[in-house]
């Protein structure tokens, strides 16, 4: 139909995140802080760290995204804006996509931007920095979309966090497999585009399907 709903919700959610900068920055702080613990736990041996780095960075990125996903629709549900969204005269997928895009811009994108720093800390070979950033940018967008489905399903639960993890983590597995594979193949000096292509294909599928699932879940939750 039109993209008015998309832009309006994208702008509003970005503004809301800006007003609550501290809250919006917490996934990023989590990502940074926990990642600094790894060299302390594993030891400063750079060869061993480099071996673990792709997996660690991806697990941290996944957890940081999951942390922020829970509140994606909860506030809207409480203050009644969710209901207004569902009865607005447009396809619900547009505002939903706007909200998810805003979520990615405040979590996935900053996370991608600081990831070289973490890479440096974990002695990730320089050659793998660019593949890591691209795979994180694409992968965290997938995580935001898939996580939003879980957030929509658990929106009316007071303590939905654990249930959200149970619903969403199995769906995260392909993303983490191909995400870390992209970084690993780059370290091994092999062509890293094939796993990245799979990741991109997953993003395309998620953009097409997740908003429908989210809209359906929100209607379901709102209908009693």
């Amino acid at each position: 139909m039109n993209n008015i709903g998309f832009l309006a919700y994208l702008r509003r959610d970005l503004l809301l995140a800006y007003r609550r900068r501290g809250e919006a920055a917490s996934p990023l702080m989590f990502f940074l802080l926990v990642s600094t613990l790894i060299p302390l736990g594993v030891g400063p041996d750079s060869a061993r760290l480099a071996e673990l780095a792709p997996g660690i960075i991806w697990v941290m990125a996944l957890l940081a995204t999951l942390l922020s996903t829970e509140g994606l629709f909860a506030a809207d549900h409480q203050d009644g804006t969710l209901e207004q969204m569902l009865i607005s005269p447009q396809l619900v997928v547009m505002p939903v996509l706007g909200k998810v895009a805003a979520h990615w811009l405040v979590t996935g994108l900053p996370l991608t931007m600081v990831s070289p720093l973490i890479g440096l800390m974990l002695s990730l070979p320089e050659i793998a920095i660019v593949p890591m950033m691209i795979s994180l940018a694409v992968g965290t967008a997938c995580l935001s979309l898939v996580g939003a489905v879980g957030a929509a399903l658990t929106v009316s639960l007071r303590k939905g966090g654990l249930l959200l993890s149970i619903v969403v983590i199995p769906l995260y597995t392909p993303v983490i497999i191909f995400g870390s594979a992209t970084v690993q193949t780059a370290i091994d000096g092999i062509n890293w585009l094939p796993p990245l292509a799979v990741l991109l294909a997953m993003l395309c599928a998620a953009i097409a399907l997740c908003p429908l699932a989210i809209a359906g879940a929100l209607r379901l939750v709102n209908s009693n």
Binding site: I4, A8, R11, R12, L15, L16, R19, R20, A75, Q78, D79, G80, T81, E83, Q84, L86, I87, S88, P89, Q90, N222, S223, N224
Partner: protein, 212 residues
């Protein structure tokens, strides 16, 4: 703006946990009508409002918009209604102006928004974050949507909650203007309105339910 036969509700029923919430609902609303929905607490007034705005799907019966079931002309219908419920739909970290402007049609200019806020008595509060406003002022921000909206059918669920006397008068004037222009209005309130021509409809809780 007057619509022919804007709203007709025919034998509407809604089940929750396998029990009917209220007795079958039947009424028609014409252009220029004010329908006050009454009923005891828990009778199902808000449920009825949510059914009418298509947030809930009826178990049986139908809601006709200009003679057509709203499930078949959903977007046309939704583009022409305005619903203000119990929850204000305001974001507390946004200012009054920001809240109103994202809830209003895209055609509204910044001047329209500020004029609407001034009209509901919030002049010079435009830039105040909503968490610094009182409950009555929150309500006023939400009700300022009545001025920016182009919808013909208004659904107001307890619009007078937390509003002061002078605010009630402003609100009633707004309602009067709306129905004089051929719009229609459904509201649920326990208060008597100082408007003429208000029809009343009483929502009866379902008999089986009240026997339990």
């Amino acid at each position: 703006m007057p619509l022919a036969n804007p709203l007709m509700v025919d034998h509407l029923l809604f089940e929750r946990d396998d029990r009917n919430v209220f007795e079958p609902i039947n009424f028609t609303v014409d252009a220029g009508d004010i329908l006050q929905i009454e009923g005891a607490n828990g009778a199902g007034k808000t449920t009825l409002m949510r059914l009418l705005t298509s947030a809930l799907q009826p178990t049986s019966g139908s809601i006709l918009y200009q003679g057509e079931d709203i499930r078949r002309c959903r977007y046309e219908y939704l583009a022409n209604i305005l619903y203000i419920g119990h929850q204000s739909g305001l974001k507390m970290t946004l200012t009054a102006e920001e809240n109103l402007s994202w809830m209003s049609p895209a055609t509204c200019s910044g001047d329209d928004i500020r004029a609407a806020l001034a009209e509901v008595g919030l002049r010079s509060y435009e830039d105040v974050p909503c968490h610094n406003l009182s409950a009555g002022q929150h309500r006023r921000v939400a009700l300022a949507r009545l001025l920016t909206s182009t919808a013909t059918i208004w659904f107001l669920d307890e619009p007078f909650t937390a509003i002061d006397k002078q605010g009630v008068a402003t609100l009633e004037a707004l309602m009067r203007n709306h129905v004089d222009a051929g719009g229609c209005l459904l509201l649920s309130t326990h208060q008597d309105l100082a408007l003429d021509g208000v029809r009343k409809y009483c929502v009866e809780p379902h008999k089986q339910r009240s026997l339990r």
